[in-house]
């Protein structure tokens, strides 16, 4: 059916993504093997490049890469030469995912109630305060929130660990730092959705029919109101699960986020392309899940 077809499209789409990112990464100047302490003879660098086939024309390198993909081999990392791309992902992804889910939970757990209250009490003080806080959350960059949290909760008051990823209590600050922005977004979106649904005709109709206010809200309005949030949840999760550079950098968390940025900066071609494909795959699957969720939540939606 529809969803299976979409899944089938995933493979060609991922191939295109890999091709585009492969091409992009090779465009930029610089290569992975330039070092501050240069080898005594340029021949050594050339040997290295030959070893990893970097001196071949780009289409040939890509063909080689795709051949590897067919065997499930995403290639060695060019920077961390003892590790393959698969090694790096296998080590980092579970950590990023754990933190990502925790932040997702935080974003939903804080954002949905705030969004609900600000919608239901629209125009009153709860709305003003809640909306202000939500927008505020969206306006402060992560690399400002995190050091401030570290300053207050670990340095000034020794309540929490300052960094690393060793026990559940280590996850508190990173979760908040990561989830805060998204909780603001979720709150705004849910408020939006609630306001829309509350105005809709069928709500008026149901009210006219005499259904109690609270049943009304919870059963009918919320299901539709949450749609914008569901739609946003796809990309939000994709970002969260693949790890945040800022948070992982500041809290020294051994996830994948740092590699996303550093691999591009290091010109580690294979790792960059591998991560791009991973991100794209995740995004596609999540978007599919979002559309599926739509189907469940909104009876008007049909896919052919």
């Amino acid at each position: 059916m529809y969803f299976l077809r979409r899944l089938a499209y995933m493979i060609p789409l991922l191939l295109v993504v890999s091709a585009v990112s492969f091409w992009l990464v090779h465009l930029a100047p610089g290569g992975p093997f330039d070092k501050e302490h240069a080898p005594a003879s340029p021949q050594i660098k050339r040997n290295l490049e030959a070893k990893y086939h970097l001196n071949e024309p780009i289409w040939k390198q890509y063909a080689r890469y795709v051949g590897g993909l067919a065997r499930g081999d995403f290639g060695p990392s060019l920077k961390y030469r003892d590790h393959s791309v698969t090694d790096i992902v296998r080590q980092g992804l579970p950590v990023s995912m754990l933190l990502g889910w925790l932040a997702f939970g935080f974003a939903m757990g804080v954002g949905l109630p705030v969004g609900f209250i600000t919608a239901v009490r629209r125009g009153r003080w709860q709305d003003h305060v809640g909306s202000f806080l939500a927008i505020l959350a969206v306006c402060i960059p992560g690399f400002v929130v995190a050091p401030i949290l570290v300053l207050v909760f670990t340095i000034k008051w020794h309540l929490l660990p300052v960094a690393l990823w060793e026990s559940p209590v280590h996850a508190v600050l990173p979760t908040i730092a990561l989830g805060l922005y998204f909780s603001g977004k979720v709150a705004r979106l849910f408020r939006e959705g609630m306001l829309n649904t509350m105005q809709m005709e069928f709500v008026t109709a149901a009210r006219a029919k005499g259904l109690g206010e609270s049943t009304l809200l919870f059963r009918h309005a919320v299901r539709l109101a949450v749609l914008p949030v569901v739609s946003y949840a796809g990309p939000m999760l994709a970002d969260l699960l693949t790890g945040s550079f800022v948070i992982e950098n500041i809290f020294q968390i051994p996830g994948l986020g740092v590699f996303f940025i550093n691999s591009s900066l290091n010109k580690d071609y294979t790792l960059t392309v591998g991560l791009a494909v991973l991100y794209a795959a995740l995004l596609i699957v999540l978007n599919l899940a979002v559309d599926f969720g739509y189907m469940l939540l909104d009876p008007r939606v049909k896919y052919e």
Partner: protein, 339 residues
Amino acid sequence: MSDQKVESPNTDSSSAMAVASPGARPPASPAQRAWRRFRKNGPALLSSCYIALLLIVIVGWPLALKLTKFAGPGAATWAKSHAPEQLSDGQFQPPNTQHWFGTDEHGRDVLSRVLYGAQISLLVGFVGATVSLVIGVLWGAIAGSAGGRVDSVMMRTVDVLYSLPSIIFVIVLMTTLGEKLKQLPVVKASPALQKDLRLAILFVGLGAISWLTMARIVRGQVLSLRTRPFVDASRALGASPLRILVRHIIPNVFGVVIVYLTLTVPSIVLYESFLSYLGLGVQPPMASWGSLISEGVDQINPIRIYWWMIVFPGGVLVSTLLALNFLGDGLRDAWDVKG
């Protein structure tokens, strides 16, 4: 995959949007009604005043610094000591009468840097948003109007680009474009152009990663407008597709687009600050809010905190973003851009 993902809130791509249509109401034009609604929105009004004030100060301060040169030697030295790139011996001074926002590691006046940085950040935000607007509107409008194969190809491209982690794209863009553009003879000839090249690349780069959502929204709008009676009427009267596009569809999309512009600006400003944190944003010694905050964040440690280096740039950034958000919300409410 940025930390602060650049998208105009995906929100309303899901909930259907309609532009305020002339209904069976007394003959106040949509614009007039929108203005009336806007006026009633307290936070939005406050925000627009704040932004207006900010713009005046941002433009006025550098002007004042330049003009005081003509007001005598005392004023000239005052102007020099407050120039944003002027180093001095007074490192890390807390706010005082000489320097209202204190000084940084190089003895530079933080107030001046915040205001000059504001120019850069807001410029990047607005120009970047405009770039994304132009690309997005054109792309979406063409795709929506053309339909069929063209539409399919164009939107599939958007899908592919959407799946790429944006940071890879940005890094490649910033490094590659910078080097390639430098080689152009027109650039080599003009020192002024070379200086501003980095800024120009930032504008283009940031705009280039934010147009995707705009394109989707515009296409959706165009698709729904295409089936409207007034468009059919135009076609029946013999108007060419281009004319329909330009005279009917684009103006109706306009309202939505403006609203999204005001909401894209803050997210681009945020993304620029993220890039500056990574060292990919503006070049030193130029400042942007992002680079100033990045410098300030460096100063957070258990021993001694130069709070003015993060509070002032951060405070100004956050309040401006707040104002832009409220303004955008107000515009959206006023234009009645929701289901």
